[in-house]
């Protein structure tokens, strides 16, 4: 390992006094600053402006790089980890609302532990320029997430860019789902894991986060009762009680490239329904498109089913009121006669 130090000007301070960031930038603020490591140039440049716009701007470099005591430091500083501060119950006030510690259980952390190429914190959040997710310049700003995940998951990214969710984002509807809305941010788990947001048992809950939101669904013009009606269906009930082969949302709608039924590419387009239902129901044909989907019988839109529902509602009510009256009359009559005979 060869070390090449490009600049060396400053007076060496003694150990205990805190090093000002200014001093670090004397070297690290120079664009070409770097080393050759294993025959490759490795930049050690940190943009001062970008760092000062980050959430960590108030911190000293040495707050994280605690092993840098003197400048110039002659050894390579130890690797630092974000979870040094971002753990539940930390005293420095590092935010943990998004549960960064859960990263340790995620597919990414597990792959990394096996020595595979997988992202950790810095790959998504950057190292020195971490910004809040709400900040449009943040690496994890909503509109940038598909590109961020797509750096590795390329084919999925392309599929997603065809979806109605991405169309929503491009039209400025920032509530539309990106990767992290369904897969979650830190605790990304494989679908086989029962804790995963995409486990068959949890898929409905994941879609429902947005699709049962009355305000949001009204804004984007999608019926809000779809998840509720699904839960009343045989598929929904079977799934709820553990029959995971029963169809969930994604079984019919697809997932990354989800499209509305009006789009001819959509698996739920009337012309494609026979094939989609046919995945489980081998005899399905064009008949399956003749009817309404995800409509509660109590709603007028359900057409003939609504009238069946209404007929039975009134029929049951009238019959039972009649039968109940007959029973009450019989009981009252019986009691009256009994009282008369014992009274005499």
């Amino acid at each position: 390992m060869i070390w090449i130090l490009m600049f060396f000007i400053l007076i060496v301070n003694q150990a205990n006094s805190q090093l000002k960031n200014q001093r670090c930038f004397v070297c690290h603020g120079v664009k070409n600053f770097g080393i050759v490591e294993q025959g490759k140039f490795k930049s050690l440049y940190v943009s001062k402006e970008d760092f000062e716009a980050s959430v960590h701007s108030k911190f000293a470099c040495v707050s994280c790089h605690v092993d840098v005591r003197v400048i110039p430091h002659l050894t390579k500083p130890q690797k630092i980890h974000c979870l040094q501060c971002h753990f539940e119950g930390n005293v420095v006030g590092a935010p943990v609302a998004a549960k960064p510690e859960k990263y340790k259980e995620s597919v990414h952390a597990r792959a990394l532990a096996k020595g595979k190429n997988a992202p950790d914190c810095k790959d998504c959040h950057t190292i020195h320029y971490v910004r809040k997710p709400e900040d449009p310049n943040s690496s994890v700003y909503k509109t940038k997430i598909p590109e961020l995940c797509g750096r590795c998951h390329q084919t999925i990214k392309e599929g997603y860019y065809n979806s109605i969710h991405w169309t929503g984002i491009t039209r400025g509807e920032l509530s539309a789902a990106v990767c992290s809305d369904c897969h979650r941010e830190h605790d990304i788990l494989p679908p086989e894991d029962p804790r995963s947001s995409l486990n068959p048992k949890n898929v409905v809950g994941t879609c429902e986060k947005c699709h049962s939101d009355v305000k949001l669904m009204k804004r984007v013009g999608i019926p809000v009762k779809n998840p509720e009606a699904y839960k009343e269906s045989f598929h929904g009930i079977a799934l709820k009680f553990g029959v995971v082969r029963a169809a969930n949302c994604a079984s019919c709608h697809g997932y990354h490239d989800v499209l509305p039924s009006r789009d001819p590419r959509s698996p739920i387009h009337p012309a494609n329904l026979a094939k989609t239902c046919g995945k489980c129901h081998p005899r399905a044909n064009e008949n399956v498109a003749k009817g309404k989907f995800h409509v509660l019988p109590s709603e007028k839109e359900s057409g003939i089913v609504y009238y069946v529902y209404t007929f039975f509602k009134w029929f049951t009510l009238i019959v039972l009121v009649g039968l109940f009256t007959h029973i009450v009359l019989d009981l009252v009559g019986h009691i009256r006669r009994k009282r008369k005979t014992t009274g005499e």
Binding site: V243, H281, N287, K290, G291, V308, Y309, T316, L331, R337
Partner: protein
Amino acid sequence: MDPKKEAEKLIEEMEAEKGITLDAEFREKLKNEIAEKIKSEIERKKREAKRKVEKEGEEYFIRFSLNIRLQHLTLAIGVILLIITGLPIKFHESKIAELFFDLIGGIQVSRILHRIGAAMLIFVSIWHTIYIAFTEEGRNEFKELLPRKKDFLDFWQNIKYMLGKTNERPKYGRYSYIEKFDYWAVYWGVVIMVLSGLILWFHNFFLGIFPKFVFDIAKEAHSDEAMLATLAIVIWHWYNAHFNPHIFPFNPTIFTGKISKERMIREHPLEYERIMKEKLTREEKSDER
């Protein structure tokens, strides 16, 4: 009670009363004789009591044949099975539904039980159709169950009776209008439940035949009619058959076939009269012979 001791006591009492002492040999003889008498008297009393019980036992009528009883039993078990495995699906949001599926071993087990119940219901429907079409007894029962003008008059009379406007109960024949209502309600229920149920059961087969909305209608009708039938059975049928004050808490007639003379006279006076008349003419005929 030992007859010999009793006899001894009697003799002692008599001796004390008259102030005499009997000859030992005669005394022994007398004692044996009295004991014998007491013994036979006790036995006679016992026989008489037994005969009385037997006679009371004879005061029953056979109301339902074994065939009817078995049909009802199959129907009852099938329907109860259908209700307890069906309701948790209708009320899947409730805690009880979760508890039930946990208890029974999952929704898949419940599905199988529901289909066993369904098979019983379908089986008994076919059985009953054959019964009323091809057996003498079945045809007669069916005729008795057909609604007629008298049922509406009975209904009106019963309303007046229940309200206390009259003291005369309607005189029912073999089947009251309440029983006829129950019988015909089963037709309505079975037709709807079996048709919609078969569509849902064999949905993979029917998917190739019916449009999707037929399945939606079948599901809705199955669910709603199930509710109506359950409430009608639990509230109406169980009240009239079992829980009403005359018979509470349980009426065994449909299971044993037997009905007491007293209940026969009260509940089916016209049938009682008819049976008695028939009996009388039979006896007269045999007397003539």
